[in-house]
Symmetry: C2
Subunit: 382 residues, 2 copies
């Protein structure tokens, strides 16, 4: 960390701020919640992509993580994490790279949802002595990837994956459609269906004589709304560590618990058009507009806080973005006076997974504007 | 470049592909166009952020570039480019960093649109022997940043910037509202107003005895639609080098001239729900939805091409994205058969500035699927 940026007011912008105290609270909350349901937590590192964060997030009763890219798998394997679940259907061309990860992280696993990829994996595993750990991905209603549980192919696929040298783990599913839920009642229903779908599929496989060791489900909204963990071995979730405006609108956490914000500087004062401009635009915030379609209020491209993390009254949002410019419509003369050129503000993003991916590191704070540490994160695919 | 990825079919995905032949054609086209208008071109490197690209883009009659972040300025200065225009209003806290860039790139310049920042710049320049080159940013109708040309403050600001040790360059403006134009007629009107606004402002300053050396305007749509360069010293534009679906919808270039695409792999075949899934989602493509509001057809999250760069018929688009998944709705059984798991496809993005920012490098091709080179690019702000 540069010695000339010891507080957020002196930091170069745009920059990504992570409040360690809030992160810790969110991580402890989800681990406790999972244990109360009798399930262990496999934190999904696709949101924050940092080994320092993983230390807070990993459930001591589980020890593993989930990731969304092979780059993340390599990064966390290098840091000594051995149980890494690549929670995406692999394509056959990625098998050599997956074998290299397995060489370093012996409990590395990935998803498959088709007979053709399973055959490729089997062939590769035999030829290269790579006993891949594989989860059969099932569709529990999102209709993105995963086998339809009504499809008779599911049993054939599970039988194939159960054969040596493949190392069949069990059933995995993800209720991504929880993000489209209209409110708490629908969220509880989706969470229930996600669990029930996975548990029923596992039972069907077991009834056919197939050993199913793991039943893995999850998304932050369903993890928060699950009322029973019966039949599950693990819950996967990731966004809860940081939180964002969309998770607030889904009531996964409160605005005050959101741990990640974008630090920006006012660069232009355009009173005649009722706005100020900051140096955080579409790249620094992302163009995600989740709150436009969520159950809560539309927060445009993000909610504006002061440098201490406090909202303005009346509320300010980033109304429009260009590549490196963000426009904040200002309501009162007093707000203009509070926000002269050079002022630092913090923006709560719509969707933290998209926003955080634009940064290589976090300025770590602990409730104040003091920067107590800088943490690296990984990005990209290579 | 890894020796095991000599063609796009063997490359790890998602990856960013740059067709050098198309890049070269686009660069030559814009340089020729500018010269025909009697103006020199200052290519804006915010889109492609690569020194290899700059070699094709720089106008030999000009020699300079524009950038949108101080990180880009540092990157290009290190590569020996001396005329770098940071085409954004600077905030006072960025002046020490700007002075370091100036130390390496003696023609480095930036924008100012307020008396308060001008005073800070003056004070810093005196105290630190940093003769900053400064452009007065004027608003020509976008209402983002820039001084309203009707505001009497403009003359005061120009007078202040003209004083030693500051090094006043002239008037700069950007008709970003060209992106909201409904069609060619409005685009021509915006291009005309952009030029006329800047030229008139320069004349007013000159009439007041202020030396105005430069009159800098531009955006890709206005550069393409400008019919006279009278009074201008330079045109700034950047997206034209690569092109994207939004520029195609604005008729800045044809689809066949788009030089940048995202290479992706089919990872799941979900015929029962009429779609396939690729490993390029919201991060790999960005969540930009420009074509939803442009004058052309809505192409969802991007247009799907085969690995050779040819569109499908009927047309395929990425209908929805998740963090690492893209969903392509498939229309015919024949298309499903053409796109089994493992197939490589290429996606033309909505807005290349947003998409390219997710990648550290380009796989360079020349009209075929052969990878002839790998070029690095810079990203981020630090």
């Amino acid at each position: 960390m540069s010695p000339d940026s010891v507080t957020l007011r002196e930091a170069a912008t745009p920059a990504l701020v992570l409040d360690r105290r809030k992160l810790k609270g969110n991580c402890e909350g989800m681990t406790t919640r999972s244990h109360a349901l009798g399930v262990r937590l496999r934190p999904h590192m696709k949101t924050l992509k940092s080994t320092e964060v993983a230390r807070y997030a990993i459930d001591p009763l589980h020890g593993g993580i989930a990731v969304a890219t092979l780059n993340e798998a390599e990064y966390f394997a290098q840091e000594g994490i051995t149980d890494i679940q690549y929670a995406v259907c692999i394509s056959p061309d990625k098998l050599p790279r997956a074998a290299r990860v397995l060489g370093r992280a012996p409990q590395f696993s990935f998803f498959i949802d088709s007979l053709e990829t399973a055959k490729h994996a089997m062939e590769f595993a035999r030829a290269n002595n790579a006993p891949f750990r594989i989860w059969l991905e099932m569709d529990c209603g999102e209709h993105r990837t995963g086998v339809d549980p009504e499809d008779p192919m599911m049993l054939d696929l599970a039988r194939l994956l159960s054969q040596s040298p493949l190392n069949f783990q069990g059933i995995a599913t993800h209720a991504g459609h929880s993000y489209r839920a209209s409110g708490p009642e629908e969220l509880r229903a989706v969470a229930h269906a996600e669990r029930l779908g996975a548990v029923s599929a596992a039972q069907r496989l077991r009834a056919a004589g197939i050993e199913v060791r793991g039943v893995s489900v999850g998304s932050t909204p369903t993890a928060v709304n699950l009322i029973s963990g019966e039949g599950l071995t693990e819950i996967r979730a990731g966004v809860y560590m940081a939180g964002d405006l969309f998770q607030v609108s889904l009531r996964s956490l409160s605005l005050d618990d959101v741990a990640v914000t974008v630090l920006a500087t006012v660069i232009s004062d355009n009173r005649s058009h009722g706005q100020i401009v900051i140096d955080a635009g579409g790249l620094a915030l992302s163009k995600d507009r989740s709150t436009a379609v969520g159950p809560g209020p539309d927060r445009d491209y993000g909610l504006v806080l002061d440098v201490f993390g406090r909202p303005f009254s009346p509320e300010l949002t980033v109304a429009d973005v260009h590549q490196e410019h963000g426009e904040i419509r200002v309501h009162t003369r007093r707000q203009f006076d509070l926000l002269p050129i050079g002022t630092k503000v913090r923006i709560v993003p719509n969707h933290v997974c998209m926003t955080a991916a634009m940064y290589d590191s976090y300025l770590v704070t602990e409730g104040t504007e003091q920067i107590v540490d800088t943490w690296r994160r990984t990005n990209g695919w290579q």
